[in-house]
């Protein structure tokens, strides 16, 4: 029991760190993309407004929500591994 709790706690802390790093990275990529888009569209308004609006859209997008897979995929992987190793 203790070993399972230990794995769950360490796994949760580790994946939370990964989750936030991936979130910051994806947002940074999106901001860079928006800055380039602003240039291409002939600089409508100020760049900050354009990027802020784009990032607000991004925060509601599916791509942003898919980052939760950081938690889902390893959990599923462990479940599949337990099945394959012990019950196949």
């Amino acid at each position: 029991m203790f070993a399972l709790v230990r794995l769950a706690v360490i796994g949760f802390v580790f994946l939370t760190i990964v989750y936030f790093i991936v979130r910051i990275y994806m947002r940074s990529l999106e901001a860079e993309r928006l800055e380039k888009l602003w240039e291409e569209e002939g600089r409508p308004g100020t760049m900050d407004d354009f990027v802020d609006r784009g990032l607000a859209d991004y925060e509601r997008s599916l791509r942003r929500k898919l980052i939760w897979l950081v938690y889902v995929v390893p959990t599923l992987l462990v479940a599949v591994l337990i099945y394959v190793v012990n019950f196949m």
């Binding site: 203790f2 070993a3 399972l4 230990r6 794995l7 790093i21 990275y25 940074s28 990529l29 901001a31 860079e32 462990v78 591994l81 337990i82 190793v85 012990n86 019950f87």
Partner: protein
């Protein structure tokens, strides 16, 4: 005597680190042996100096007892050399095989025992090393009957794990480069502008900001409170 140069010390440490990573991977990744099982037995084990090469007591049992019975599987390779496997739960611990079916595996192994005259060849998936000086044994994970001693097994699991590790390293590098481009470099520009204005020793500061650590420090400084106008 000349002291070793810092460059050589760093190079040596890097080589040691790479060797350590390779050793850990070689120990932990699954490997397949084609063997003939000759016997199965259990033996009491009191792990000592070789403690880290033994896994956990069966899941659900008291994890604090010092000694316990461990299952073993004796086998012969096609070339006639013998190999002994241990058969232990890894449970929820390291390496992450999540193996709980030790007793079932032992029953399968007993069922597949055969003699040299009428051999039944099996593929034993295992991790770990056999070392006579440390009395350590590879841990069997699963057993599968195969048609003969020359069967070729493709190590899909290892291929997948190594590919995943390579992908993770690649992404860490991408993330680091993105972080530097978007956060650290602009911060250095800001910092050196301020220095230009305030201090005539800008050249010296730029010199210091060249190293990676200094870039990081400069980025940290951007989080400091700015003087209000």
């Amino acid at each position: 005597m000349r002291l070793p140069s810092w460059k050589n010390v760093k190079r040596t440490l890097k080589v040691l680190l790479v060797l350590l990573v390779i050793a850990v991977l070689h120990y932990s990744l699954p490997q397949h042996d084609i063997v003939r099982i000759t016997d199965t037995y259990e033996k009491r084990i009191d792990p000592g100096e070789n403690r880290i090469f033994w896994a956990a007591p069966d899941i659900g049992n008291d994890p604090n007892v010092q000694n316990r019975d461990v299952f073993f599987i004796q086998a012969v390779r096609p070339n006639g050399k013998v190999i002994v496997y241990r058969n232990e739960d890894t449970g929820w611990g390291w390496p992450p095989y999540f193996k709980f079916d030790t007793s079932d595996l032992q029953a399968e192994a007993s069922d597949l025992k055969s003699t040299a005259g009428n051999p039944k060849w099996v593929s034993i998936t295992h991790y770990g090393w056999r070392n006579r000086f440390l009395s350590i044994y590879p841990n069997a994970i699963s057993i599968k009957p195969v048609s003969g001693p020359d069967v070729r097994i493709i190590p899909w699991a290892s291929i997948f794990i190594l590919a995943a590790l390579a992908f993770v390293l690649f992404m860490i590098r991408r993330m680091w480069l993105q972080f530097r481009e978007r956060m650290v470099d602009p911060a250095i520009d800001n910092v050196s502008e301020v220095i230009d204005r305030v201090d005539s020793q800008a050249d010296e500061a730029a010199e210091r900001a060249r190293g990676l650590w200094a870039r990081f420090r400069a980025w940290l400084d951007t989080w400091r409170g700015k003087p209000r106008p």
